[in-house]
């Protein structure tokens, strides 16, 4: 029976089996490239189907961890191999397994060192799934940091002209954040004698200690999210990363920060979270407005979308620290939705980049003439990004605002201006790229969408709309858990935030 299998370990390490396959491919360069692509695609596609089992076998009514696996690892040390998912981590695993095959499919334009590229992607998938499935803090950290290795290479080897700068910035920025978290993890380990996440969630740390622990974890997660003002690695990393790298980076890796806040900061340091909530609101609001304005000033498509990611993730942090059910589930929804939409938007850029080899907005215009179907997909994703009702983007933002309104009216009002600004920069981008009359010869010669590209758009669009129309698809999975979390946090609503 499938239910007896260690499904999470299987999911986590299946990509590594794919890596073995890739290493076994023999032949001339052409054969290796072609086969590597196909192997990676099939492996990741297979993993996605296996991961669907998670969704269907998952019991949403039960808020605890499911599919748990435990094995002793560092016996004497209170550190064990412990995996399991709940309503919060399971959607992220699906997001990761869903986006990976699409990203691989979007990587057909990678021409050199295809095998290495695919290996990096599959290793990345292992790290992502493992991170979301880990119920041991040390394991979590292993996967959390392990992500840096393949991503560093993906940006650095297959990236754009300033890839070295971007890769280093990405790596060192995030590393600097996470090592502080590491020290805090050690302190928790020292005090509790275990790194087991469920056990630590039950442990109560002294408020003074919580204060420091919160800051340490914050350093890591804030960089990952990224929150203002530690967001500056993101535009560079996105701009230089290859299309698929950006898709995964925006689609999954940014969510690691939000996930961390929900998994660690809220349940383990509730007092400190409540204490810091107003500051986080302030930073998030700045992120929403500031980066939206910056996005407005961009002339590089990818940079614009990268900045828009920062703004959208600002909603996530507001939702998480609103200490309300709506806010938290809105934040979750927003993360999943942003994962799909931003991946799709980066792919939109990738499609035209593959044809024109520039990301300058100025070089385009009138794309609708030559690629009408592309214009339609782009339009859909653009509208989802601005949070149009009926798309997934709306549900998340609205829920977050509902939560924020209850926590702090000012935050809600200021964050809601992001809705206006978001519309401005996205529509402006769309207008400059797609509308108008195609004038440059290069644009006129752009090939219409290939079937492979449509195959990437279709599933993304499907889920964007599906989630927009039936948000229960996702909300049902996580709401019992979120309700439980909020009731445990109980009276800890950010008291000082009420003063706003």
């Amino acid at each position: 029976m499938l239910s007896d299998w260690p499904i999470l370990s299987l999911l986590t390490f299946l990509p590594l089996a794919g890596v073995l396959f890739l290493l076994l491919i023999r032949g001339d360069d052409q054969t290796v490239s072609t086969n590597s692509r196909l192997v990676a695609l099939w492996v990741s596609g297979f993993i996605f189907f296996v991961s669907l089992y998670l969704y269907f076998a998952f019991d949403p009514a039960q808020p605890g961890y499911q599919f748990e696996e435990q094995a002793s690892w560092i016996k004497g040390g209170g550190i064990n191999y412990h995996m399991g998912v709940d309503g919060i981590s399971m959607p992220f695993i699906l997001l990761a397994t869903f986006l990976t095959p699409l990203s691989i499919l979007a990587s057909w334009s990678i021409k050199h060192r295809v095998r290495d590229y695919m290996i990096a992607f599959l290793v990345l998938e292992t790290m992502m799934i493992g991170m979301f499935a880990s119920l041991d803090m040390l394991m979590f950290y292993l996967f959390f940091e392990g992500v840096l290795i393949p991503m560093f290479l993906i940006i650095g080897v297959w990236g754009g002209p300033r890839r070295v700068y971007a890769a280093f910035k990405f790596f060192l920025y995030t590393l600097a954040g996470s090592v502080l978290m590491l020290v805090c993890m050690m302190a928790m380990f020292v005090q509790e004698g275990t790194t087991d996440i469920p056990a630590l969630q039950l442990a109560s740390f002294a408020p003074a200690l919580q204060f420091w622990l919160f800051l340490g974890f914050f350093a890591s997660f804030a960089v990952k999210v990224p929150m203002w003002p530690v967001h500056t690695w993101l535009p560079d990393a996105h701009v230089e990363a290859p299309t698929a790298g950006s898709m995964i980076l925006a689609g999954v890796l940014l969510k690691m920060g939000g996930y961390g806040f929900i998994r660690f900061s809220l349940p383990m340091f509730p007092d400190a979270s409540a204490f810091f909530a107003p500051y986080i609101f302030a930073l998030s609001v700045i992120a929403v407005i500031y980066t939206s304005l910056v996005a407005l000033a961009q002339s590089d498509m990818k940079k614009l979308i990268a900045y828009s990611s920062v703004a959208h993730m600002g909603f996530v942090t507001i939702g998480i620290f609103s200490f309300t059910e709506q806010g938290l589930s809105g934040a979750m929804f927003q993360m999943i939705s942003h994962g799909l939409v931003s991946a799709a938007l980066f792919f939109c850029v990738g499609v035209v980049y593959d044809r024109l080899h520039t990301r300058e907005i100025k070089a385009y215009g009138g794309v609708a003439d030559v690629m009408p179907r592309y214009a339609a997909w782009f339009m859909l994703m653009m509208l989802a990004s601005v949070g149009l009702p009926g798309t997934s983007g709306f549900v998340g933002e609205m829920l977050v605002l509902v939560g924020a309104w209850q926590a702090s009216g000012l935050t809600a009002v200021l964050a809601a201006t992001g809705l206006i600004l978001g519309a401005v920069y996205m529509l402006w981008l769309y207008r400059r790229v797609v509308f108008g009359r195609a004038e440059s010869q290069a644009v006129l010669e752009m090939a219409p969408l290939a079937r492979r590209e449509v195959m990437i758009f279709v599933p993304l669009a499907l889920f964007v709309i599906w989630l927009g129309v039936f948000p229960a698809l996702l909300l049902d999975v996580m709401n019992p858990l979120i309700a439980q979390m909020i009731s445990q946090l109980g009276s800890l609503a950010p008291a000082s935030a009420k003063a706003f």
Binding site: S72, W73, I74, K75, G76, G77, R113, D116, L138, Y141, L142, F143, E145, G146, L148, I149, F152, L153, G156, V157, R163, V164, A167, F168, F171, L172, L175, A176, V179, L180, L182, V183, M186, A187, F189, V190, Q191, A206, A208, L209
Partner: protein, 496 residues
């Protein structure tokens, strides 16, 4: 004085090395000037390491005092001895016939053998006299082999510098030892511990301890006693550098461990302070110093300084946990060092060894195995999980946090971020750049074997960490029994 047979069995590894040293001396004198003879010498020495290693592994599991307490064997020391011997074996094995620059001479393996003997004695030392003897037996051959490349000015200069500064450090150490003897009245570690436990230590003892520690800091090249390291690493022939990077550090760290935790265990609060200073200085010097290096061996020198700084964190914690952290750290250090030098030793262009970092440019497309190996080693050295280097850091930092040395841990992790930069720089060269001139193809078989073994450990360390940690926390118990309650006090202070 009568020595029991038991003593000799416990002393078997050293005995094997001594006997082989005698044999090899004869062998070298007899057949040293023809290639076949040299080959024989080399293989005999390797055999000596192998046999000694076997002897270590099958030997006394418990800690046993030998020769009236002059030496001690078994227990955790066996682990360190095993590391040293394995390291010496790897370094000697990779020093193939291809190498000239002096290391092809028959006396080279012999000198290394003698130095290894010295290292084993250092690890076994249980008395200030034995300590000094082992130290000097280790140092003198190393001075010579650092200058082995006689036609190279740099090599001679390195040897001379190493010798002069080594003499200075020996002087400090000896002075410290005599102060301690003067104030405590015994040179035996056990005796020192006993006396210190009995009552408050006089200032003379502490001054002596500082001198002693300074001398030992020189051996592990902890800042500010590190200045020789970059020059010697750069100047010495690469096989010598490889040896330097691997074996003596482990031995000296083991010695430092027994001196502090065992002999001076009762006054842990006092040496801990010194070690904190050394540790911070080393981490910073190591991290910052390496950034601008263009010579890969020089860079590795700074890298090893930084690594010693991290290992010192574990020592500075002054707890059993810290000691076991050091054991884990030094194990990973040795494995990573062996792996990295397996690669550095195979960097050749037109049959000549090269050692510029930029020589690695674009290696990923021309030498995929080499580049992939180097990448993993570098990520591991930077402490990126899930590779081996991370676990070493995890345990020393955990010990520091537990001992209340949180600022030290924070400095440590931040220094590791800076350190990550120069490790990444190598990866960048190999992976993000196109090659201009390619290195020679074909890595020697021995290097391949060492590299693969090292990579296997680095990648699969996640599986080994459980048993290793269990072993380490068990094994260090006997060394750390003398530690004062100091650690318990300080760890309580932060958790409020």
């Amino acid at each position: 004085m009568a020595f029991s047979a038991n003593d000799w069995i416990a002393f078997l590894p050293e005995t094997i090395l001594v006997l082989f040293a005698l044999v090899v001396t004869l062998l070298a004198a007899w057949a040293g000037d023809n290639p076949k003879g040299r080959q024989l010498v080399r293989q005999t020495v390797l055999l000596a390491y192998a046999l000694a290693l076997v002897a270590v592994m099958v030997g006394q599991p418990e800690r046993t005092e030998l020769f009236n307490g002059l030496f001690v064997a078994g227990g955790v020391l066996s682990w360190f001895k095993g590391l040293v011997l394995a390291g010496a074996f790897a370094a000697g094995w990779m020093t193939t016939q291809k190498w000239d620059e002096g290391v092809e001479r028959a006396e080279y393996p012999l000198l290394v053998l003698l130095a290894s003997l010295g290292m084993c004695l250092m690890i076994s030392a249980n008395d200030l006299m034995a300590l000094y003897m082992g130290l000097e037996l280790q140092s003198l051959p190393l001075f010579v082999i650092a200058a082995m490349r006689t036609r190279s000015l740099k090599s001679s200069e390195a040897g001379l510098k190493y010798f002069l500064l080594g003499a200075l450090s020996s002087g400090m150490l000896l002075y410290g030892a005599s102060l301690i003897y003067g104030f405590v009245g015994t040179t035996s570690f056990a005796g020192i511990a006993e006396t210190l436990a009995a009552g408050p230590a006089s200032a003379g003892v502490t001054v002596g301890l500082v001198f002693l520690l300074s001398g030992l800091a020189f051996k592990i090249s902890a800042a500010p006693f590190h200045m020789w390291t970059p020059d010697v690493y750069e100047g010495a022939p690469t096989p010598v550098t490889a040896l330097f990077a691997i074996a003596p550090k482990v031995a000296a760290m083991a010695l430092l461990l027994s001196v502090t935790h065992y002999a001076f265990g009762p006054i842990a609060a006092q040496w801990s302070q010194v070690l904190v200073a050394l540790s911070v200085a080393s981490m910073l010097v190591g991290a910052f110093g390496a950034l601008r290096q263009t010579d890969i061996k020089r860079m590795m020198a700074y890298s090893s300084i930084a690594h010693m700084g991290y290992a010192l964190i574990g020592l500075a914690a002054g707890t059993a946990e810290g000691a076991s952290g050091v054991l884990i750290y030094m194990t990973t250090y040795l494995v990573m060092g062996a792996g990295s030098f397996a690669i550095i030793m195979s960097m050749r262009r037109d049959e000549t060894p090269v050692q510029k970092i930029s020589d690695l440019a674009g290696a990923s497309s021309t030498h995929p195995l080499l580049a992939a190996g180097m990448m993993l080693v570098m990520f591991s050295m930077a402490g990126i999980p899930p590779l081996a280097g991370f676990f070493g850091k995890w345990y020393v930092f955990v010990a520091a946090v537990n001992a209340g040395l949180i600022p030290l841990a924070v400095i440590g992790v931040l220094a590791s971020v800076v350190g990550a930069f120069y490790y990444l720089r190598i990866i960048r060269l190999m992976y993000f750049q196109e090659p201009d001139e390619t290195l020679d193809h074909g890595m020697p078989r021995q290097n391949q074997a060492v590299l693969l073994a090292s990579l296997a450990v680095i990648v699969l360390f996640v599986f080994a960490i459980g048993p290793l940690r269990d072993y380490a926390s068990q094994a260090v118990q006997e060394l750390t029994g003398n530690l004062a309650v100091y650690s318990a006090v300080s760890s309580a202070s932060y958790s409020g």
